[in-house]
Subunit: 264 residues, 2 copies
C-alpha cells in the first residue's frame, strides 16, 4: 500500500474502507481527525454499558451512541455506515471470537446499539505536536498496556479492572505531558498515575498484558493513561450473546478534529 | 434561620435536611462542595434519559446515576439517602406537578433510577474566587434563564431546546470568566455564547423565561452558560407517568469538592 497516496479527508478514507480497499490499521489516516473505538451490543445490555461508560469516563470516554438499529453516526461522521466503514471487525458470541470480517452487514440486527469511544491517537497527536516523542510510534510498535489493580466502577453486569496504556516519558517532559493530555478528557485525558508501577498493581513493566514491551532509557519515567481496552474487557466478562468491536488498531475514522475535543 | 450556625460538613448538612430541620434553598451550604440537580425516572425511560444527558454534556453534566431501586449515591455521598436528603422535592405525574414534599419515601418504587447532575453553583464559586462579581448573588436574586433556539440533541423520546443561564460580566473579565468556567466541564463548563442574545434566539434580556431579570450596567456583556433546566424540561415534554426532581434551588449537597471536578 502506498500510504503517501492516501486521501487526507476522513470521508474519502472511509469510502476506501467501505470498498474493501484499505484493510489496514488506521494510525496516521486522516491526520488530525478523531479516531474511535467501537463496541456494538444488543439493546437489552445497552443501559448498563452506557452507565458503565458514564461511571468510568477516563477509560471509557463516550463520543457517540448510535441508537438501536441505526447505523449512521450523525454527530461524528454524517453519511457513514457503522457496518462497513471500519477496516476490520471482530465478532464475539458468548465471549468467544467467532469471526473477523471487513463488513458486519450479515450480522446486523435491529436491536444493536453502537458505542463510539475516544482513542488515545488524539492525545498522542497533541503530545507529538508539543515535542514529546512517543517511542512506540517511532519504533512502529504497539503501545504497552497493563491490567491494573484499580477496579473500574461497575454498572449492572459490567465490571472489571481498569486497563492502562503506558508511555516512557523523559523526566523533564512529564509535566508537559500531563498538561497536554489534560486538554483532551474525551480521549482518556490526563494520566491516572506517574511513576512506580507497583502502586497500581503492575509487577513487571517488561511484560505488558497487551501490546509490545517498551525499552526504557535513563531519565525516562513510566506514565499511565486509562485505556479503551477497559470497556471491551468489561463487556466481555459478561459473555454477551453478541458483541461486535473493531479489530485492534483498526479504528473508525471520524470527521471531527482532535482539536475540537480540547477543553481549553 | 441562623445560617452562621450551619454546619460546614456536607454529611452534617444532609443530616439536618433528613430530619426536616433545613427546608431551605441550599446556596451557600457546605461551601466548596458540589451541589447537584436531581431527576428520578422509571427504569423504562432511563436508557433514553441517560443517552440524552450523554449527548448534551454541557446542559446535562451527569455526576452519578443511582441504579433502579437503589437510594445511596455511593460516589458522591456515601451513606446518604436520595429519598430524604434533599430539602424539598417536586413530584410530577404525567407532566403535572402533583406534590411538593420534604421526603419521597411514600413515592418510592423499585424501578426508579436517580440521576444527579452538575449545578452552576460549582463554577460560580470558582468565578467569585477569581474576583468576578455575580450580581444575582449580591442582590439575592435567582439567575436569569432563557429558552434558546439551539436544539438539544434528542435521544429516544427526549428532545427540546437548550436552556441557558445568563450572567452580566464586565467586558474586561469576559476572558477570565471563560477560562475559569472551562475548568469545570462537569458543572456546565465554558459559556456557549458571549454577547448578542438574538443570535441564540433570545428576544428580550429583560424578560427571562425562568428566574429574575438582571440589571445591566455600562460595560457589561451578557454571557450564556448551558443550564440544568434543559434535561428537566426535556423529560417533562414526554409527560412521564412519574418523575421526581428537587425543588428549584433546593439541591442535593454532596461530599465531593468543587475543585475535585476541575480538569486543570
Amino acid at each position: 500500500m502506498q500510504t503517501t497516496a492516501l486521501p487526507t479527508s476522513p470521508a474519502d478514507v472511509r469510502q476506501l474502507i467501505r470498498e474493501g480497499r484499505l484493510v489496514h490499521p488506521t494510525a496516521g489516516f486522516a491526520p488530525g481527525h478523531v479516531q474511535a473505538n467501537l463496541a456494538i451490543l444488543p439493546r437489552d445490555m445497552a443501559f448498563d454499558f452506557l452507565l458503565f461508560c458514564q461511571r468510568n469516563p477516563k477509560p471509557c470516554p463516550l463520543l457517540e451512541v448510535i441508537e438501536a438499529g441505526e447505523v449512521e453516526p450523525v454527530e461524528y461522521a454524517p453519511g457513514a455506515d457503522i457496518r462497513t466503514d471500519v477496516p476490520l471487525y471482530r465478532v464475539y458470541e458468548h465471549g468467544e471470537m467467532t469471526a473477523e470480517v471487513e463488513d458486519i452487514s450479515d450480522f446486523w440486527r435491529g436491536d444493536l446499539v453502537s458505542f463510539l469511544l475516544g482513542c488515545s491517537f488524539s492525545f498522542e497527536t497533541a503530545m507529538l505536536r508539543a515535542g514529546i516523542p512517543l517511542k512506540h510510534i517511532d519504533q512502529d510498535k504497539n503501545v504497552s498496556m497493563f491490567i491494573t489493580n484499580i477496579p473500574a466502577a461497575s454498572a449492572g453486569e459490567f465490571s472489571g479492572p481498569m486497563v492502562v496504556s503506558m508511555r516512557a516519558i523523559k523526566r523533564e517532559q512529564v509535566v508537559r505531558a500531563v498538561q497536554v493530555t489534560s486538554r483532551f478528557p474525551a480521549t482518556h485525558g490526563a494520566p491516572i498515575h506517574v511513576g512506580d508501577p507497583e502502586v497500581i498493581g503492575i509487577g513487571d513493566l517488561a511484560r505488558p498484558d497487551f501490546g509490545d514491551p517498551t525499552d526504557f532509557e535513563d531519565g525516562e519515567v513510566p506514565v499511565f493513561w486509562a485505556c479503551g481496552v477497559t470497556p471491551q474487557a468489561a463487556a466481555m466478562t459478561t459473555k454477551p450473546p453478541l458483541m461486535i468491536t473493531h479489530a485492534p488498531g483498526h479504528m473508525f475514522v471520524t470527521d471531527v478534529k482532535d482539536e475540537d475535543l480540547a477543553v481549553l
